[in-house]
Symmetry: D3
Subunit: 315 residues, 6 copies
Amino acid sequence: MSVVALRPAEYRAPVFDLKQVVTELAGVRQRWRESQRRSTEPGGRELPSREALAHIIDSLRGVLFPMRLGPADLRQESEDFYVGHTLDSVLHALLVQVRLELQYAVRHQPYQDALGIDTDAVKLVHDFSRELPSIRGLLDADVLAAFEGDPAARSVDEVLLCYPGILAMIHHRLAHHLYVLGVPLLARIVAELAHGQTGIDIHPGASIGAGLFIDHGTGVVIGETAIIGQRVRIYQAVTLGAKSFPVDESGKPLKGQPRHPIVEDEVVIYAGATVLGRVTIGRRASIGGNVWVTHDVAAGAHITQARSQHDAVGG
Amino acid sequence: MSVVALRPAEYRAPVFDLKQVVTELAGVRQRWRESQRRSTEPGGRELPSREALAHIIDSLRGVLFPMRLGPADLRQESEDFYVGHTLDSVLHALLVQVRLELQYAVRHQPYQDALGIDTDAVKLVHDFSRELPSIRGLLDADVLAAFEGDPAARSVDEVLLCYPGILAMIHHRLAHHLYVLGVPLLARIVAELAHGQTGIDIHPGASIGAGLFIDHGTGVVIGETAIIGQRVRIYQAVTLGAKSFPVDESGKPLKGQPRHPIVEDEVVIYAGATVLGRVTIGRRASIGGNVWVTHDVAAGAHITQARSQHDAVGG
Amino acid sequence: MSVVALRPAEYRAPVFDLKQVVTELAGVRQRWRESQRRSTEPGGRELPSREALAHIIDSLRGVLFPMRLGPADLRQESEDFYVGHTLDSVLHALLVQVRLELQYAVRHQPYQDALGIDTDAVKLVHDFSRELPSIRGLLDADVLAAFEGDPAARSVDEVLLCYPGILAMIHHRLAHHLYVLGVPLLARIVAELAHGQTGIDIHPGASIGAGLFIDHGTGVVIGETAIIGQRVRIYQAVTLGAKSFPVDESGKPLKGQPRHPIVEDEVVIYAGATVLGRVTIGRRASIGGNVWVTHDVAAGAHITQARSQHDAVGG
Amino acid sequence: MSVVALRPAEYRAPVFDLKQVVTELAGVRQRWRESQRRSTEPGGRELPSREALAHIIDSLRGVLFPMRLGPADLRQESEDFYVGHTLDSVLHALLVQVRLELQYAVRHQPYQDALGIDTDAVKLVHDFSRELPSIRGLLDADVLAAFEGDPAARSVDEVLLCYPGILAMIHHRLAHHLYVLGVPLLARIVAELAHGQTGIDIHPGASIGAGLFIDHGTGVVIGETAIIGQRVRIYQAVTLGAKSFPVDESGKPLKGQPRHPIVEDEVVIYAGATVLGRVTIGRRASIGGNVWVTHDVAAGAHITQARSQHDAVGG
Amino acid sequence: MSVVALRPAEYRAPVFDLKQVVTELAGVRQRWRESQRRSTEPGGRELPSREALAHIIDSLRGVLFPMRLGPADLRQESEDFYVGHTLDSVLHALLVQVRLELQYAVRHQPYQDALGIDTDAVKLVHDFSRELPSIRGLLDADVLAAFEGDPAARSVDEVLLCYPGILAMIHHRLAHHLYVLGVPLLARIVAELAHGQTGIDIHPGASIGAGLFIDHGTGVVIGETAIIGQRVRIYQAVTLGAKSFPVDESGKPLKGQPRHPIVEDEVVIYAGATVLGRVTIGRRASIGGNVWVTHDVAAGAHITQARSQHDAVGG
Amino acid sequence: MSVVALRPAEYRAPVFDLKQVVTELAGVRQRWRESQRRSTEPGGRELPSREALAHIIDSLRGVLFPMRLGPADLRQESEDFYVGHTLDSVLHALLVQVRLELQYAVRHQPYQDALGIDTDAVKLVHDFSRELPSIRGLLDADVLAAFEGDPAARSVDEVLLCYPGILAMIHHRLAHHLYVLGVPLLARIVAELAHGQTGIDIHPGASIGAGLFIDHGTGVVIGETAIIGQRVRIYQAVTLGAKSFPVDESGKPLKGQPRHPIVEDEVVIYAGATVLGRVTIGRRASIGGNVWVTHDVAAGAHITQARSQHDAVGG
């Protein structure tokens, strides 16, 4: 940090081979674009923005729970002004991202029906907005489920403010709706934002009933075609995964096939348990910690490992 | 992005049903408040702020380790000025959050002793501040334990700067003190901030001796009533959990009962092991990777799975 | 929040024992420095900065993938300007951090060859920059591997934008290069930045071939001396760890010994599997979910748990 | 910037006499407080904040002119949500500043009626808010006056966006209202914020009718007790000042005496003119450039300098 | 700040008449829109953004003078990368603002030729960009003129970094080009940004030759149709204004008529001088401090006030 | 903003001649560097940073007046911590800027004594810091002078917070000290920061005694070699300038010659007055508004314009 002597005549400022590296990087980009048959014509970014979606979700959290996740200086008597203003702003920001995904989806078509994309995007965002009240209702049920299911929980507000499982469900319920409406890439980005913050990886395609409580959550994986009923409880490191992939004639995995479990109402799955394939866990069944399940489980059954009869793992 | 034609007369700017959605969201909030018997009177936010606490903890990390986690331009000869100024600012910021939690705790009482809350909050923050030097001492022991326990560690400074287990312990030791002093919601927020960054979920109620080393850490869960001795070592995905919850007459979980393990001095618990219930792992015992424990383990014992005798898992 | 009465004469503003706490904190710092034989002379920060490296890696992500991870308003026809300008800025920022680590490494020597450190740092950053094109090439292979390996993936761009396994590999391939060039502390910070965001903990020392696909990823641990071939697939919670540490005469772990697995080309390791020690998993072998391996596995072999023959776990 | 040689043993990091300077600065502060009979007891800041007021005024500009000075992404159909939310936030922020000034005003009194201050502050902010619609009406008249008075103006929107005279009037009309309501320090800060940006110095005490147009504006000074009618036009560097101050027995200036001009409706005062003392410029009179006036001017009169008959100065 | 007593039952949080004020503000907006025949249909902002232009000009200053007004960490060997990247970004940002003004200009027409506006905007920005090198050349002449004209100037770099006259000329030369290309509102905003910072008010329509030196500058006003030659020197508070406005039949000022002075090469105008109307100040003439000129001045003449023969005012 | 039709095949994204403009800008930079004999070798920025100095001055304002211009949450009992920490940080930031100017001053010398520059810079900053207490003392006198001189001033705190004359004097007293210590470029930047905010242009070379009150201030110009005594009062638009420049044999202005007025103690100079050349305004003299002075004025004399006997201009 300190210069303590004569700077000699032969001293040279550090210089890097910028032009060489820039050229080589352009070359490797060019090879990628050719191999992926991408356009190399002038033009701007085609892809939605992770940062924009992070901001959108953050605002929607405030819209859904204004006095608890909204701005610190909000007052109850003026909630509606805040909700209306924020919603207006956030829906138009979402519209931009929806347009980007819809355009991206048809990027290989020679003519693009810009008017059609525009109309579709507006309708999609409109439909999304109309679902927000029912999403809030589902999330209220999730909060109550966590409060009732965790002896360490002191209040519903602590649950909403602190529990990573709730943060994951806020993201999931918004992401799932985007997925259903036809913007799976936006949905996936929203899901991964929660995965990064909580370690809970729920594919936006998963269908989840009211009152899901995910405790601790780190390492939970829920696959794309999983179906979960009401009032289900899941602990950390539980996997609801696929057993093997159906493949097409050329050996490539078939996309979109049902391949993850169906979990019926009021099931409890303890930490580290693994449930694989399109199996059904019947209503009120429980799956013990670290148990490995690849077949259907009857309603009301309690599955545990031989070594640890009667034990169940809660944090 | 480009406008390429006449804008026709029938063109309409996108308009969403803002008023309808705002009204419906107000309705669902109203139903929640009624069901939770919340006030619907005018007034501001009642809950502590996650962002404020994140800022407070960040400043306290600088106060505790000024030359390593403080500002980049700090110099050793002026550390005390920095520590004093930051501490002053951070204690008053904490005071605001403590007041919010204390007021929240009595929110259902018709009259609130504002003077009493004020006095309690000042005393609480004062007591918290007096404990900081001993917290720094405990954390120094944690850093040394990590340095000595990991063959990949090159220096104590690398440990402090990089290891998620240390970040989790800084948060825990501050959070635990807040928990003991009577602000469990603040404590929980502080703990979840670390959980989100490290995947290490330590309930602030857990009591932990000097020199805990958590390696890798992702998926570690330590429950509210766990007690951990000195110089303990824990690897990733270890659970110190509850076996089952004592319930009250109405079947609701009894809150605050001892239900998590006691881990004595110098125990080592390898990756993926699960210890459940109020059991005691005796001094210098070791628990092998993925092992499942629901009974006491004698001091000095080495528990492994049948399939993997003599193996232990370190990263 | 509201002052609603006379402020009585005896009212006192809250005052904390700032000077006392500052003095005690100085005392505990002093004890640490003495016990660690640290300098207590005047002077500035000696350690690299986590924030600076986070910014550097963020910029390098844009340099490597300008149209997808660079600024939202970038256009293809002017990529090279952006790449060149950002690279220039980021290499000089890296130079500052490299100097800090090289100086830190010789901090106990009475005379420091400032000219030598300067020359070494410039050469190191120069060498690092020349490797960027080949790092981009490796990452393109990783992206393709994820796209082909996951039935839920819809496009290579979704993979690059969303998949935590790709984020972890971008960090790892940059960190590994820093590790090889001789700045292991910087490398470790870069690795932990990814660990914090993804739950994937890859030591920068690990050597990894082209086309690694880590799915879901939370809880994956890959040790310092692990060697991974080409086109390998790894699921969440897989550990490639050490069995036991070789120790020196005084019982301290020997640092830098090969102690983690070798995983050959096209191996698949399913969720929760644990592979320990310097064992070799042969080409095209597969390791089933939750399996525990401490011995070599032959090429092409399929290892599963007795309880779950023929099953493999994918998310 | 570059270290190019051995750092010699005698090298010392730069150290400044921090403690000495800190102590001397404390001494000079102490002397000031004693000479001004200020409290030296513990306690926080007593004074309103310039930054807070800058933010408040900026928000009020958006409240008054939402589609032109509000956020870029606002839409006409949701203006009211924005206006309501911003107003709620800004009035509570203003309440904090008003309380600070009211408390400051009674800082020398032994007991402070906190409840009374609180009630007064709420009433003051309430009254302020009720005046906003009529302030907007006055400002609309100012904008029209500028548009009609300047041959270079192309639209009323250009005037609102660009003209420093309009910015000064927005500040003045808000500041004057604060002044009338009893918080002259806040008013003065608001006025100086405009002075700093425009070079137009209007004391918040000045009373100004609808439709004032100040062209160019730099150097304009309008004193505390000036009274200006409707549709007046003023050019750069005009002073409406005091001739001499009435003094009290001890020779100190008497505060609050009428000592600045009265300017009646539709007067025009050209650049650089100086009008001093409690004189009246009659309706429709005009004062030529650089003219010096210390006596009443009759309605309809045109005052010019001998050297420049019939000339008037416009920019 | 401190709550020191029981909060009594009758306490009420402060509530303002938000809905009333919002409604009244909507009413006054409605009246304005009707009187100005503005659209009250749904839709977004129609006007360019002052903040966007401030950012654009700031970037262009870096593009024009990269090593002196560009980023602090720029290096000479990589200037072109910075210039190219910044220019690309800034031209597209300018394109957005140009479109807004061109659309605004035709806002009253029933059909808008969106394709035509788009084409015009692209061409305009293209032409603007091609002029940047010659603008830099003119500004180099301005810098040299200031250095040579001010005995207090120590280097050309001090002039570029510090002199408000240079800042005003950078803004003016960019603004004038926008004015000539047909976006006078953008041009005016750029000019007012400089006016706010320097007190120098140059209308973007003014035509100014190379090497203008404005010393001190506060209070200088240069009108829309002024024409200034090469190497002219102007001191603070000089006005080049209009004497009177030509009016049309209805008495409204005719817009766009030549009404400001012509100042030929190498003229010097000292502080406070006022030159009014379409007069010509001949080559190498000088106008003394505070002098008032409304007629032509011959080349080489020296005009002073009687009271102050032979004196000239420099700062 | 809206895409409403098919995007036709012939559509092209807007593309500008980036490479052409970049090349031409490089050409004009090259010509400038050659004409100014500047280095075209690789290397970083040589000049101090306006932004860095703005930040430094802002921090020094807090150091000098902690409870009034420091952070809003500061408390009196912990002022010294704040002052010490901020001072430490700001002096090292200033050291960086001082080094840049000292290196710049010798940039044309073939060998640069880096050790010497370093030593000089440290000494200069040290000397600067030791003067801060006396600067605070002078500013306290300025504040009192303004409070006593302005009938509109309500408190000394209003003066410190609001009066542009005080802001200008804070900058000037710091800038003057930098000027005296040998870094005139830094000094000039500090002065221009105040000029931009207040319209008051005081050259840092000017020597000013305690208790100067500049009222309103816009347009005031005080030249480099001016000398002002104690308790002087100056109104807006006053110039203390040079009459003509002494030139050297080649006709270039001689730099550094005394050429501005000497103003003795307790002089008052009213608005718009102009004093030119090395004249002396004797103790307690007053100069009337708009008066033009180019000769000495005797102590106690009152100079006014013929047309306006006995009048003086105050705001």
